[in-house]
Amino acid sequence: MALLRHTTDDVVERQALTVNPAKTCQPIGAMYAALGINRCLPHSHGSQGCCSYHRSTLSRHYKEPAMAATSSFTEGSSVFGGQANLLQALNTIFSVYDPDVVAVHTTCLSETIGDDIPQIADAAVAKGFVPEGKCVIHCNTPSYVGSHTTGFANMTKAMVDYFSTSTSEDKIADQINIIPGWVEPADMGEIKRLVKMMSLKGITFPDTSGVLDAPLTAEYNMYPKGGATIEQLEATGDSAGTIALGPICSGPAAEALQNKCQVPQNTLPLPIGLRATDMFIQTLRKYNGGNVPAEITAERGRLVDLVSDMSQYFYGKTVALWGDPDQLVSLTQFLVDLDMRPKYIITGTPGKAFLRRIGEVLGDGVKDVIVKQGAQADMLYIHQLIKRERVDLLIGNTYGKYISRDEDIPLIRHGFPILDRIGHQYFPTAGYRGAMRLCEKILDAFLDRQDRDAPEESFELTM
């Protein structure tokens, strides 16, 4: 295909260049997390373009309106600072859009100018721009640090910094905080369902279920029903424990909550796949007296049953994966459990801890795996690797479709962003039921391929 004819199989060491990135920048993560607060309007403190791009990308992925306001920086703001813009913005926002919370995140521009957001927010309160009972929270998300996942983590931590309150030394035994990490609204819904089945009172934050998978009602609601409420966020300080799913996206908030309100934290992998979900359920058992309802055990059993039915098709299949570190660790674990062989694992998000975590998951049994993180871990690099030695399956976001087409390798879309398929916002891949869906997708890809490629005489009805 002409589009990718530029890609060669020799891997050229690059120093200063990212080509076709496997990440994007912090503010979009902050915006996504902020949408997981009930009646919250995210606010982008910078130029209009950033806000516009982030809203467009979220809209394309979730097929939902993604609302956010912008400080609309001008040349003047970049010289004299953005204080006047943010003050005006807060005044405008509360008088026109009436949110309960405005979640401000910075951009590379406002961050470099050095705008002091809390000080400006205080000034807005003093000027009477922030009505009684309404809040402004903030986090710093310069685009030249981390990636969209760290932006998500920073805004999630801001929820703790601003809201979490400890009202008593005695914690509520059956109330736990769940920080679900950057997963789809459907996954957050599935995680909440499991917590409820375990007879626990869970406070999930951020929670985009109900917000970015809102039903069509023929009415336009700027603030759909879902999201963590201010009361819930405040109550997180009284919970018996916090379960942070994914150390990169959820770890910082859980740690902050432990320091601020002495809520003990458990950082786990995202519950994608069988073993990661087992760990999640095991941790929930610590808080509910050790009971696992029969229905959850049955769900697990159904997953194992499905895998056993089709294990011959998983055996030895090689996979290239790219995306967000928290996602990749759990996916890799699941693939190994399915007897498949992850071969190339790439994330643009910088951070050495990722390499260690992937190493632990792969263990000694899985050899010859190339794992790379950081600026030059991009889609060009993974394509070059595939050109050298191909794989049976691709798992990653929409940007893999070029490689999929060029190399004729099936692609399972997973992660962020998915711009060209639907369903991801409604059908979870988290939990045992989500793992069954992942299996279905993987098997469909292999079996469709086998049906397509089989010669006439070996084309068969049953598989």
Partner: protein, 464 residues
């Protein structure tokens, strides 16, 4: 319109035809804090230059600016696909402190050696403007060292709105214009400016001109090539569609090379025909005029009967139009009229006084005219005016759907060409498909009590 809560600062940007004498505020910065649908300078320059397929487009800045503009335009190329790659210097914190010049230089050396592009465009983003990297000097150095013309695009996001990005793009293009050999160009020749070959539209238009006997020297920038742009000053006429983005370049060429400008729109039967006749008239050649008459007659007589079946269903339906530029909105209103539809809301992100004056002239009494609207405002007007269709871009689509009305993309995400006579047929089909979709009937059940509404419908079904 009184039931809508409108921000004080926004009132001047909204006009209801007939209510008061026409006077609309536009070409202003959005009010800080509004949920504006607008973008930035970088976005403007990027979308304009993007379709030049044999040039390298390198974004000097943090990763986001490159990631969000990676292959989003659907601007098709008949040859090279280099424009669809995403190249970024991916600035990190230490680059912001110590400057990103070295990194940019290194990146360009690597890229130019590998891809040998016809030219390179280097986009400056917000942060680069702020830390003061001398992008221009690096471009000069790279040009001298590699022989590949490397052009800085001054597109720091905060320097204005998307429109200022168009200007940055025109300045960059102007560096190429006039550097190529114009020998052998026909006196019956034009440049196509301001069409971006979304879903192959430039090809449709170019084909019409060629059938008229007119040589198309350069398509700027749809399916664009660097060498064509270098010699486009040899054309007899510049035909500008997207005026917001390309008028500046055409004006520069008029001043420097004396090339006259014609404004055109390729959407709808009337505007498409007019564009071709205007060019034929200007070129003042009998054969060209005869060819044009034949072409228009053939195409229109083929098209009109095909439109009838759509028109039958669409008659009396109400549309809202919210586009990037305002000139396009005029064509939309005419096209919708051709389909028997009425435009009840018309607006744009970047229109000027003149555009809006023409828009309101063309509109019916009571039409709401909007400049730089926000989703809340738009949603309220859509409900009040009982629109059946919204024409807009990516951020408007889910709003229309949530309200339970049809949507047609007239921006980047178009998958079928809407320009030309065949585009008009596509437009009719698309509008028909979305406006008459059964899903909106199901959605309407939601408006009140969905269950009693469903059972009522079932009862009615039983009786009949």
């Amino acid at each position: 319109m009184t039931t809508t809560d409108i921000l004080e600062g926004r009132k001047a940007h909204i006009h209801e035809k007939g209510a008061v004498p026409f006077n609309i505020a536009c070409e202003k910065q959005s009010v800080a804090g509004s949920v504006s649908q607008r973008a930035c300078v970088f976005c403007g320059s990027r979308v304009v230059l993007y379709p030049i397929a044999d040039a390298l487009h390198v974004i000097h800045g943090p990763i986001g600016c490159a990631a969000y503009t990676w292959d989003i335009r659907g601007a098709w190329s008949s040859g090279p696909q280099l424009h669809r790659m995403s190249f970024s210097t991916d600035l990190q914190e230490k680059d912001v402190i110590y400057g990103g010049e070295k990194k940019l230089y290194q990146a360009l050396v690597e890229l130019i050696e590998h891809y040998r592009p016809k030219a390179a465009f280097i986009y400056s983003t917000c942060i680069v403007g702020l830390i003061g990297d001398d992008v221009e000097a690096i471009c000069r150095r790279i040009s001298a060292e590699t022989g590949v013309e490397t052009i800085p695009v001054h597109s720091e996001g905060f320097k204005g709105s998307k429109k200022d990005g168009y200007s940055a793009a025109c300045n960059a293009l102007n560096q190429l214009v006039g550097t190529g050999d114009t020998n052998g160009i026909s006196p019956l020749s034009i440049n196509i400016l301001g069409d971006f070959n979304i879903a192959g539209e430039t090809w449709v238009i170019k084909d019409y001109y060629e059938r008229m006997g007119v040589e198309v020297v350069a398509t700027i920038t749809g399916d664009g090539r660097v060498d064509d742009i270098r010699r486009c000053h040899g054309a007899a006429l510049n035909v500008v569609q997207c005026s917001g983005s390309m008028t500046q370049l055409a004006t520069m060429m008029k001043e420097k090379y004396g090339i006259p400008i014609i404004r055109a729109s390729y959407f709808g039967i009337e505007d498409m025909s007019k564009a071709l006749y205007d060019v034929a008239e200007y070129l003042n050649d009998k054969t060209v005029m005869r060819n044009t008459q034949n072409l228009v007659r053939d195409e229109v007589s083929k098209l009109v009967p095909q439109l009838r079946k759509y028109k039958k269903d669409l008659k009396g339906k109400r549309a809202a139009v919210y586009t990037g530029g305002a000139f396009k909105a005029l064509s939309m209103i005419r096209s919708l009229r051709t389909l028997g539809m009425k435009t009840v809301i018309a607006g744009s992100q970047t229109g000027n006084q003149q555009d809006y004056a023409r828009l309101q002239e063309l509109s019916d009494e009571g039409t709401i005219i909007l400049d730089d609207t926000n989703p809340l405002e738009l949603a309220k007007f859509l409900e009040e005016k009982k629109a059946d269709l919204l024409i807009g871009g990516v951020k408007e689509r889910p709003i229309a759907y949530k309200l339970g009305l049809g949507f047609c993309d007239h921006n980047h995400e178009r998958k079928i060409g809407l320009a030309g006579f065949e585009g008009m047929l596509n437009f009719a089909k698309e509008v028909h498909g979305t406006v008459t979709s059964p899903v909106w009937k199901l959605a309407a059940l939601h408006r009140k009590d969905v269950w009693s509404a469903t059972s009522r419908q079932h009862r009615q079904g039983d009786e009949s």
